[in-house]
């Protein structure tokens, strides 16, 4: 079975989903400095069917402000709408959920199927986030038109 967990595909898939689902345009970037303050991390597991060695987890992370903007775009309302102010983490989870589905087709095109976990999110200090991201074998960043940073990472086993 072919396995190509490339960073380019991860970034391109995330950028495409951001554009199609939330009308947010972004490009791969190498941020000059690490994030500051707090970061919302959304993670979920995946496992390739009938291939016990091919499993791992995906992580998308961004600032709480980007999460709120993402929620607003997904729902088609203004970012200051009271309906979205507390839904940034949830929005990032849904973005990750969609990215994961698309990514499995790209990374494991010959697999009979993949099992995706339920995404979850938490807010952590930027330093903690950077340390986790540094340990990811596949890791990169996107920069949105509004200069918001979206970190993408995959932890692969097998």
């Amino acid at each position: 079975m072919s396995v190509d967990p490339s960073l380019d595909v991860l970034l391109a898939t995330t950028a495409r989903v951001l554009e199609e689902a939330a009308f947010i345009f972004s490009e791969p970037a190498s941020p000059a400095s690490p994030p500051t303050g707090s970061v919302v991390e959304a993670t979920m597991t995946f496992a390739v069917t009938d291939q016990p060695g091919h499993h791992g987890s995906l992580m998308l992370s961004a600032s709480p402000g980007f999460g709120t903007a993402l929620a607003a775009n997904l729902l088609g309302v203004e970012p200051d709408d009271p309906d979205v102010t507390a839904r940034g983490a949830e929005a990032l989870c849904e973005l990750l959920n969609i990215v994961a589905g698309c990514l499995m087709e790209e990374w494991f095109p010959d697999a009979p199927g993949c099992r995706l976990g339920i995404p979850s999110a938490r807010t952590v200090a930027a330093t903690e986030h950077e340390a986790r991201r540094a340990g990811a074998p596949v890791s990169g960043s996107l920069l949105s038109e509004d200069a918001e940073r979206i970190d993408c990472a995959a932890f692969l086993e097998g």
Binding site: L75, E90, C114
Partner: protein, 131 residues
Amino acid sequence: MSYDFLIVDDSPIIRSVVRKAIHLSGIDLGTLHEAENGRQALATLEQQHVDVVVADLNMPEMDGVELVRRIHEDLSLTVPVIIVSSDRSADRIEELRARGIHDFLKKPFRPEELMAMVRQALPQQGGSRVG
């Protein structure tokens, strides 16, 4: 004639997106029920009339595959089920089709795609009226 819907998804954001798509479809909307997982959905279907179910696949407690199975086998309902999911696994889609889902829509989707599926589902059945 108005139609009653049941949206089943653990993400409130996706439930909102689906709700908006249904509103935009121009279909005469009756009652719009919502559930966070398959278990809640079954409870609703046991008690309420529903014409179309729009459900996620990956959900906590009870996923979409089990939900479809129990709708047909336990409740003996013929209500059309449209699965909307980011999970594109060929084996699961095949299993869902074998279990008689009406259609499958991959995320991300355009509202028009869902609207078209919902409209196409409506004339084919008589709903899940109980009692």
